[in-house]
Amino acid sequence: MDFTFTEEQAMMADVARELLAAKCDTATLRRQMAEDAVFDDARWQALSELGLQGILVPEEAGGLGLGGADLVQVAQACGAVCLPEPLVDLAGVVAPLLAECGASDALARVLEDGALIVLAHPLTPFVAFADKAKAAILCDDDGLRLVQRADLTLTAEPGIDPLRNLFSVSAEPGAGERIAGPDTAPALLARAAGRGALFAAAQMLGSAQACVDLGVAYAQERKQFGRPIGVNQAIKHHLATAQVKIEFARPVVHAAAVLEPDAGPQSRARISHARLAAAEAADLAARTAMQVHGAMGYSWEVDVHFHLKRTLALSSLWGTAEHHRKIIAARVFDGPLGPDQTFPQERHHHG
């Protein structure tokens, strides 16, 4: 038992954080937003060159053959800066799905050329930056198919998050290449949803901490009644309450990261728990940061609103709260309970 990250895992996250600090700072994001160009090709290129897309792809399929624990802190870092580009979806969901489907050509384009491929999952029907994708994975009654960009019909779906452009994605019935049939597709989609929920949780965790940090910084510098607003217990308690939520979401998210998404009811429940706890922390942290900033927090002047909107989106993707509570109910009411059941012993298998 060792619930710490390895040196390599910490380094991977540091590298990502550094790159994001340089290329995804708020001044850059605000400029790109004003220019209506929030998807930054140069940033995408730089992120691609880190090779993160291959983390969850087995070595025999050309990837790094690592696990969720290697990606989870990178996802937190992406959430902390409200990264526009869908790196986490690509590395955390799409690349392993392509590997599981044996779609080796498409996978090679992702791993070698930094191509973006997106997934229109029934639980995430509105796809971020589908317009920048080279291809999309679509679901139908016959399973999954990979459809090239030229054969896709995209409909813009304006949303509240100014840093993610959303689309509905469809194609003619016969278009594209079948990559999974009706027998295997449901299990593949379930695994994708598990990973989606896990890495959405990790992004929300990063966002939550960024919000508390914004609130703390402002509470120290903003003065009213002749002293920093942070001397008031009302403000201290708000921020401390949000931090407590974060502290008890983080270990759940990290423990969920080592699990195979569909290994069994216990693994599924842990991922759902991570998703619920992270969403609660992120939502509270964003609203707290807004409250601490007063009217400033309700404007576009500070970054709080980016986080608030991103969390609103992430917490309704990959299944609603009710969906995840049902998964937890199945584990709690029908599964083995007790302190020896903390760590699921369900079989870990690779697709």
Binding site: F126, G159, I160, S316, T320, R325
Partner: protein, 387 residues
């Protein structure tokens, strides 16, 4: 105690309902924060209301009102919100400045300002906050220098709702340059299109420029534009804030209608909802009900000669937190569509819940933050020691 409407009150309700049915636009006007057209469409609606005699039913007849009591006002509001009538673009005028002026203004001021306010010819903004004076409003620095029969206004106001397009503002200024804190402040009315005044729109969380920053550089107004005595500004503002937090700003009907819509949304999606959502919906409905009962009790007490004190702070906390919880319940029902704008092709029945949710998040900030209200309740209502 008699918790039933009199036949006259019932007849009044029917009269309001008929009028609203005949006049409320089928297509709601565009947001008053989003564009000048939206703002002006709301001004037109104020004119229509006024022509029908419904602009401000509690005001005296001479200023365009009907001289009705607070129970009638509540009934009016119930029918108003139930009919889906537009938001009141002149709310800072009719709900805040109007009542304040009736109490503190001169006859000449009432005659000059109240009729065009009631007609919607002059839309008002509130200019109290400054960058360094938010919760600590007594830190106001903007100055009004007396020169003959004029005041010369200079300073920087911020977060002034609807001031981007409004016509007039009522501001808090330091008339005594030597004064500090609550002393030496005065309430002064100034037009928003006047030499020396620059307005800078500020985008709110939904991207619409619902606020303005006001830079005043030697703006001249006649001394008659001061409301109340020189140096009395603080006391008057606190009275106005009482109206704002207390009854007028948020009548219960708004939340009862929202709760009803939430119940309908839930029923349309009940198959996808679990017990947590169901409980949130029921709680929202109960809270809206409790708020209405509380306001009816307050209104009855005021009619009997009572006054409103710390319950203004209690109300403000209750309605602002209820509003957030109510909208959160709706957001959770909408699932993946919750983040879409209503115009998105895939949005379906998302309606205005998202915008309403974002706006609800401002509730604990404006009209005095909830932290400050809790301090007031603890100190003035419960008698806990001040620092």
């Amino acid at each position: 105690m008699d918790l039933s409407y009199t036949p006259e009150q019932q007849a009044f309700r029917a009269e309001v309902r008929d009028w609203m049915r005949a006049h409320v636009p089928a297509e709601p006007p565009a947001s008053f924060d989003g564009s000048l057209e939206g703002f002006e469409a709301h001004r037109e609606w104020e004119k229509t209301l006024h022509e029908g005699g419904w602009g401000m039913v509690t005001w005296p007849k001479e200023y365009g009102g009907r001289d009705l009591d607070l129970i009638r006002w509540l009934i009016f509001e119930e029918e108003y919100y139930a009919a889906g009538a537009p938001l009141r673009v002149n709310q800072n005028g009719i709900f805040l400045l109007g009542p304040t002026m009736m109490e503190y203004g001169s006859d000449a001021q009432k005659a000059r300002f109240l009729p065009p306010m009631a007609r919607g010819d002059e839309i008002w903004a509130q200019a109290w906050s400054e960058p360094q004076a938010g919760s600590d409003l007594a830190a106001v620095r903007a100055k009004a220098r007396r020169e003959g029969d004029e005041y010369v206004l200079s300073g920087h106001k911020i977060w002034s709702s609807r001031a981007v397009n409004a016509d007039w503002a009522f501001g808090l200024f330091r008339t005594d340059p030597e004064s500090e804190r609550h002393k030496g402040l005065s309430l002064i009315l100034f037009p928003l299109d006047t030499p020396g005044l620059t307005r800078q729109p500020i985008a709110q969380i939904n991207g619409e420029t619902g606020f303005a920053e006001l830079f005043l550089d030697e703006v001249r107004v006649p001394v008659e534009n001061r409301l109340g005595e020189e140096g009395e500004g603080w006391a008057i503002c606190m009275a106005t804030a009482g109206f704002e937090r207390g009854l007028m700003l948020r009548s219960p009907a708004r939340f009862q209608v929202a709760a009803k819509q939430l119940v309908e949304l839930y029923q349309a999606h009940a198959d996808d909802c679990g017990p947590a959502t169901r409980d949130a919906v029921l709680q929202a409905w109960m809270d809206a009900d409790a708020y209405a009962l509380s306001i009816y009790a307050t209104a009855s007490r005021l009619i009997a000669g009572g006054s409103i004190g710390a319950e203004a702070s209690v109300n403000k906390i209750f309605w602002s937190e209820m509003d957030i919880a109510l909208h959160r319940a709706a957001i959770s029902i909408l699932g993946a569509r919750a983040e879409l704008m209503p115009a998105a092709p895939g949005a379906g029945d998302v309606g205005d819940w998202l915008d309403g949710y974002l706006f609800s998040l401002a509730g604990p900030i404006y009209a005095g933050t909830n932290e400050i209200q809790r301090n007031i309740i603890a100190e003035r209502m419960l008698g806990l020691p001040r620092k």
